[in-house]
Symmetry: C2
Subunit: 245 residues, 2 copies
């Protein structure tokens, strides 16, 4: 792990209003500011390993990390995707159950675990925010279970693309309901396959099929252009009731 300290002020922090600190008042923020430190992990680097004890909790400031588990025979399943503002770690317990790796260069805002646990106890705004974020993650994980258990390969890929678009929209504040969108995929085909519970080959074939159907364009393997989001959404097969995104 490549350490690099920085002195960015929380006030100017890009995730100030979305991360675990989102609901802090100035006093609380000052406390967090006092114990935080920045770390950069290069693309491909390990951030944490299942079972290993870690004494820092952190927020993702920039970049993209994956949460996954690898079985004894090499089968691998991604179970979480960490983007800016997402939280890493489990207050109250030192060990994680999953591996966390940097999919791109990742910058973390870290807190010593003991110090952060003290803050949770003293500042209900942090505790409450963390509970909300964890409940949101639980909903995401459960939607993902539906995807892995019941959706076809094509539906999975479409869901993946739509979720990236949606996530990007909430980050930039912009909300495209329709119209063309350009996406830079933070993940390789192999990682996407692990995300979706498919093989690389099937994933690749689905991208090809979507391209042939005119639903996406692929100027580069890592760049996806969606001419019209509305075309993609009917195939997502979401919820009960009617198909939607």
């Amino acid at each position: 792990m490549n350490l690099r300290l920085a002195r960015t002020s929380c006030i100017e922090c890009p995730i100030r209003h979305r991360a675990v600190c989102a609901e802090c008042d100035d006093t609380e923020l000052a406390v967090l500011e006092g114990i935080k430190s920045y770390v950069t992990v290069p693309k491909g680097g390990r951030i944490a390993e299942a079972g290993e004890s870690l004494d820092h909790l952190s927020s993702v400031v920039s970049g993209c990390a994956t949460v996954s588990k690898t079985l004894a025979d090499g089968r691998r399943q991604m179970v979480g995707l960490l983007l800016p503002s997402d939280f890493i770690g489990r207050p109250g317990r030192a060990t994680l159950s999953f591996d966390i790796e940097a999919a791109t260069d990742v910058t973390l805002c870290r807190f010593q675990r003991r110090a952060f646990e003290a803050i949770i106890r003293s500042s209900p705004n942090v505790a409450r925010r963390l509970l909300t974020m964890t409940l949101d993650e639980l909903d995401v994980a459960r939607d993902w279970q539906v995807l892995l258990g019941r959706l076809t390969a094509r539906e999975r890929v479409i869901h993946f693309l739509l979720s990236l678009v949606r996530r990007e929209a909430t980050e930039t504040g912009a909300a495209h309901r329709s119209g063309p969108v350009r996406l830079e995929l933070p993940l390789s085909r192999e990682m996407i396959a692990d995300y979706l519970g498919l093989t690389i080959e099937t994933t690749s074939r689905q991208f090809t099929a979507l391209r042939k159907d005119g639903l996406i364009k692929t100027p580069t393997a890592r760049t996806i252009v969606v001419p019209d989001l509305v075309d993609l959404m009917p195939e997502a097969m979401d919820e009960d009731g009617a198909p939607s995104a």
Copy 2:
């Protein structure tokens, strides 16, 4: 929903030390005691529906409930199994994203949402316990993602059985690491299939195969006897490293 009030004291409550109230001191417990009420939902009854607003949060006192989502075309995936001590609801938000149904007769210990949210604010022991429980549920959901994304039908059924055994062990305090175990399945074959992301037929065939292999006995469709847990565990294909349970 079939209402039935009762005046069981928290002190004698079977889930007193495992539920959301587990870490309460006597004062906090008294407050909860003041706002709680019991409800019984008969087998097959709806406890909550996705999107619908509910003004109670509850703990499962007895019985078994399922958390699931149904797609527009009828495909269904279970994403959670609620057993005694598990918590239902999302403090801070009125609507759920999933359907909750009683798989057996279920008794709930309910709290008015507003009142409970006030308690979370005033009593850190409840807030902390809820965070821990939510983090635990997240881990369970993620392990389930691995099962749905990468395990074979046989491995899924074995995992299901082992998870029931383990859960039962923590409830009764008894820990069998080996030796014969008898299980009463709280779920029908259809529900097990929805749990495991399989069809009824495949699920049934896997039970048959395990029986033919001598790994289980099935005196009744709903009763499973595992002559030796140790025989089942090597096939579970858990974690990294070596196969284990």
